[in-house]
Structures are given as C-alpha cells and as structure tokens.
C-alpha cells in the first residue's frame, strides 16, 4: 500500500509539473504583448518598463518558469492577473473554485443516486418493460451532449414560468434554486452511464452462486440485492468515477458559461478572451491538479472497498 501510494504521489507530481510547464509555455507563446494590452493606447515607456518588471516579463523565460513553479510550491502564488489591475490570480481562483466544486461534486453525487438504483432495478427486472424502457432512455440520454439538453430543460422551465407554475431561475449564482438546473444538466450524462454500468454488473452478479445461496436459505430478495449483491456491483461505478470527473470538466466549462456561473470554467474562458494569461494558466493548473487528486481519491476508495485487492 505504501509503495502504491508513493507511486501514485509521484504520478501526481508528474501531472502537476507537466501541466504547469506546458501551460506556461502556451501562455508565453501567445502572440501579442500583454503589457501593451494593459496599457491600451497610452504611450509611456517608463510605465511600460515598470509594468514589465512588475509582472517579471523582463527576465529570461526559463528564469520566469522556475520562479513561477517556485512561487506556486512555496506560497500557492500563481502570479498577478493582467486584467484585474494586478490582483493575485490565487484570489480569483479561490472565488471561482467553490462554485465549480459545488456543482461538480453535487452532480457526481446525484448521478450515482439516480444511476445506481435505476441500474439495479433494471437488472432485477431484466428484459421486462422497465429494463427495456429505462435502458433505451439511458442510451439516448448518454448520446445527447449536455448543451443539447440545456435548451430542452430551459424551454420547459420557461413554459412553466409563463404559465404560472413554479419554475427555476435560469442563470446566475447565489441561491440553491439557481444551482439546480446546472447540476441536473451535469449529472444527466454520468447518471446514464452509471445506470448502464450498474445494470450490466448486477445482471452478472445475480447469476452467481452466493446470490443463489442467499436466496435458497430464505433471505428476502430486497436484502440479497440491496446488501449482498450491492457491494460488488458498486465497484465498477467507483472505477468510473475517475474518468467521470475528467468528462465533467468539459461539461462544467459549457454549463458555467451558459448559465453564467462564476466558476473556474467561466473564469478560464473570460480570461482567454481577455488575453489574461496568468489567470488562464492558474485555472488550467487548478483544474488538472483537482482532477488528478480526485482520481487518486477514487482509486483509494476502490482499494478500501474491494478487499480482494492486495499488493
């Protein structure tokens, strides 16, 4: 276990280094002079050199990279934003991160809460009506990209609103109601995948001997399915959590930009358009590291839940 942990941590460090260096290179290869962009049409060589020095752009690129890495490791300092008058990137990230984590993790939890029961019930009722209907819907839902789902949900919401029924707010951030639609959209794809995964695993498990034994000694079906078979059936779902988090990143970018949520994806895209590269670098690194850390957690969870995995 220790060896495994050390290996995974080394992998994590590799990811952080790789992402940081590549992002740094892309940010600095970006065409255009960021200082001139900040200064707009003003022509003031003294101020120009002062700003250039403030952002450290007057030093050799390798020195800048080394300094950038060192500051991240030592102080969690991602440099200064070009756009927000030299505000530290870290403070922008700290504002954005809770939004993204809230909707991302809620969506993941919701996806499991919806997908697993549907999958189990479909497996129990294998080839019956519920199984057929739910699995067809699930396949459809899985193939529909999140941003195709958004207008459909929003149209329903607007219809409810105009006909005087209770409806949900369609944009911005701050209240619980405003988070519901984005979370639903994010959860849909993963829920569909999890339902299908759970069904396939459960169908296999229900044919196994230990299930037959449990039934034969008179245990009720609910107990056999809900307890004995559930634990092994959950293992593939946990394996899927890692890739699911990676997939959620793309959907989060889309959802945050459509629903106008001030999360990491929204910050990243606005910064890209404003050529605020320090913020772009910061958001990219935070997202990549966050995903890597959550992958590690999902992996450790798997090892805890599956006693068969030993060294």
């Amino acid at each position: 276990m220790t060896v495994y942990l050390i290996r995974r941590l080394m992998g994590l460090i590799f990811v952080v280094l790789a992402v940081t260096c590549l992002t740094f290179i892309i940010g600095h290869a970006a065409p255009g002079d960021p200082i001139q962009t900040i200064m707009g049409f003003r022509h003031d060589p003294v101020e120009y050199h002062r700003l250039r020095h403030l952002y450290g752009l007057d030093r050799p690129l390798l020195v800048q990279l080394g300094d950038y890495l060192w500051h991240i490791v030592r102080w969690g300092d991602f440099g200064l934003s070009f756009r927000y008058d030299g505000r530290p990137v870290m403070s922008l990230l700290l504002n954005a991160l809770p939004v993204t984590l809230t909707i991302g993790l809620s969506a993941l939890a919701l996806a499991c809460a919806i997908g697993v029961p549907i999958g189990i019930w479909a497996a129990v009722r294998q080839n019956k009506a519920f199984d057929r209907v739910s699995m067809t819907l699930v396949l459809l839902l899985y193939s529909v990209p999140s941003f195709v789902l958004i207008p459909i949900l929003l149209s329903i919401d607007i219809w409810l609103d105009t006909h005087g029924y209770p409806s949900l707010p369609v944009a911005n951030w701050g209240t619980v109601q405003q988070a519901i639609l984005p979370i639903l959209v994010l959860a849909a794809g993963s829920a569909a995948y999890i339902a299908r995964l759970t069904r396939t695993t459960m169908v296999g498990i229900l044919r196994e001997d230990f299930v037959r034994t449990a039934r034969a000694k008179g245990l009720p079906r609910a107990l056999v399915v809900g307890k004995h078979a559930l634990r092994p059936a959950l293992l593939p779902v946990i394996t899927f959590l890692g890739p699911a988090i990676g997939l959620l990143v793309t959907s989060t970018f889309v959802v945050e930009n459509i629903f106008n949520l001030p999360g990491v994806g929204f910050t990243a895209v606005t910064s890209i358009n404003a050529r605020d590269y320090p913020v772009v670098q910061g958001t990219t690194i935070i997202v990549a590291v966050g995903v890597a850390v959550m992958n590690l957690i999902a992996d450790l969870l798997y090892r805890v839940l599956d006693p068969r995995i030993q060294e």
Partner: protein, 324 residues
C-alpha cells in the same frame, strides 16, 4: 496486461458495457475460405443499427456537400428587404430564422459542413500523428517508447477538452486575424487532434506489442526482412481495423467537441456557422422561439448516434483486441 491499456481510458462507447449481439458463427463447412474483410463486412452488415448509422452518415454527408448548392439562401446574411427575426418555421424559411434574421436551414447546412469536415480532418491528423508514434513506440520499445509515452502522458494530464480549449483559445484570435475563418477552422482541427492522438497512439502501441511477438513476424525477421518492411508490410496492416474502429468512435466525440469550442466562443467565429454557435445563440432567445435550438441539437445528436452505431458495428466486425 499491458500497463497502457489499463487505467485512464476515456469512457468512450467501446468500454460501455455491451448489450448483446454476438458476431455470426464462422464455421461454414466446405465453403470457399473468405477473406478477412469479407467476413468482417458480413458481420457488420448483420448489425442493423450499424448499417442504419452508416446510411445516416452517408445521407448527412450528401446533405452537407450538396445541400448548400441546392438551397441557396445565405447562411451569413439576413434578407434585409424582408427581415424577420426569430421567425417560426414557414414556407419562406423552412426551419425559421435566428435572432439576426438569418435562415436557420442555411446555417444548419453550413454548420453540418463544419462538423463533418472537422471530424474528418481531425481524425486524419489524429492518424497521421498517432499511428506512426504508436507503431514506433510499440515496435522499437526501449528509450524511444519511454520518451513517446511520456509525451503522451503530458497531454493526458489535461482532463477532457482542457488542452484544446487552451490552444484554440490562446492562438485563436491571432490566427483568425492572420488567416481568417479557414485558419480558425484549421486551429480547431489541430487542437482537437492534439487531444485525440495520445489515446490512439496508446491503442496502436498496445496492439503492436502483441503483434511483434507473433510467429509470422519472427519468420519475416528470420528470412532477413528489413525492419521497415516488417513494420510497414507485416505489422501496420494488422492495426488498420483497430485504427478504423477507434477513429470512428472518436468522431462522435470530435463533432461534440467542435460544438463545445464554438459554443464557448473559441472555435469557428460568427458570422460563420457552426452547430455550437447556433445552439449558444438560440439559448439566448428561448423565450421568444424555442424551435431555434431544436434543429441544431437534433442534427448533432443524430451525428453522434450515427458515428457511435457505425463504431460499435466496426468494433463487433473487426474485433480489435487492444480496444477492450
């Protein structure tokens, strides 16, 4: 099991739990031995969804190529003498007009061209980069394999579309200024291929690792065939099925990813059309006319389903082991 095949595969459709369809039995006593490709085709043709997907793609391709030639309304300009904004479908505009008064059918046809062109060229680029790297890493192994695998690992470290978003976003504006709309389209293709190739290279590498230990390769080596001949004539043809299946399945994600980039404002730029632009514009006027988002969404979903069905059909027919 090889290290590369485990772990962080993107959950594409090939590792969706399969529901059924066994390939047909092969034993036909006394029949003339059929070629491998003929056999694969009969398996593919027996899969109704795959054939439907292939037909759907052919129809979409014809519509995308011929459509704008037949249906000549402008996809970039409104009919200013007869301006109707956010119009519902009508004989003058079969799918209605958007918030600028531009015909939606014309925009959809143009967007379909973009989607299919990006899917095609991104996969071509994906093959051009991914296959040689996978072949080299798998066949030669050693330091070269280590180096190439680490390069792929660096790109794998970026989750989802993040790298493509970064590249398309950072270089988009200046390439758009220098090379216009086509330059922007090329950048989208390059950034999407950048995300795709490491996975393809990994699949090819895993396949080559097992192929190079086969007896016929050993035999070719024994009779003194040069390395180039072994790789190109004996190994490369055996990864064609794998590459075909993997790239077809990847096309389903590429069309979605292209839409994501333009939806975020980082891909194709207005006034040019793309399904992503159409959807993001339609969302702002949902309360006026909800049909505007419907057609691009349907077209995209249709494309995704067709690519997935064809990919699944190829998967059953060609049975590429390294994709499992």
């Amino acid at each position: 099991m090889d290290r590369s095949a485990a772990g962080q595969l993107a959950p594409t459709r090939q590792n969706l739990p399969a529901q059924g369809t066994d390939p047909e039995g092969e034993s036909q006593i006394g029949a003339r031995p059929r070629s491998e490709w003929r056999r694969s085709w009969s398996v593919f043709a027996a899969n109704r969804l795959a054939v439907a997907g292939l037909a759907g793609l052919a129809i979409l391709l014809v519509i995308a190529v011929v459509g704008p030639l037949v249906y000549t309304q402008s996809a970039t300009d409104a009919d200013i003498f007869n301006l109707t904004l956010n119009a519902w479908p009508s004989p003058a505009h079969p799918l209605g007009t958007d918030k600028d008064g531009i015909d939606i059918l014309a925009r959809l046809l143009a967007g379909l061209r973009v989607s299919l062109a990006v899917a095609l060229f991104a996969e071509l680029l994906n093959i051009i980069i991914g296959v040689p790297i996978g072949l080299a890493a798998g066949y030669f192994g050693g330091a070269l394999d280590f180096l190439l695998s680490r390069v792929a690992d660096v790109l794998f470290a970026f989750p989802g579309l993040l790298l493509a978003i970064l590249v398309a976003g950072v270089f988009g504006a200046s390439i758009g200024d220098a090379a216009g709309g086509l330059g922007r389209l090329a950048l989208v293709i390059v950034s999407l291929a950048l995300v795709s190739w490491p996975l393809l290279a990994r699949y090819v590498r895993a396949e080559v690792l097992s192929l190079r230990e086969r007896d016929y390769v050993e035999a070719a080596r024994a009779v003194g065939a040069p390395t180039s001949r072994i790789v190109l004539a004996h190994i490369a043809p055996n990864v064609v099925g794998l590459v075909l299946t993997a790239t077809t399945l990847d096309m389903a994600s590429v069309v979605v990813n292209e839409a994501v980039l333009s939806l975020l404002g980082l891909g194709v730029q207005p006034p040019h059309s793309s399904i992503g632009i159409m959807i993001s514009a339609a969302i702002t006027v949902l309360n006026i006319n909800w049909t505007e988002s419907l057609f691009p969404g349907l077209a995209l979903t249709l494309m995704v389903l067709c690519f997935s069905f064809v990919g699944d059909g190829l998967y059953d027919a060609l049975d590429p082991r390294s994709l499992r």
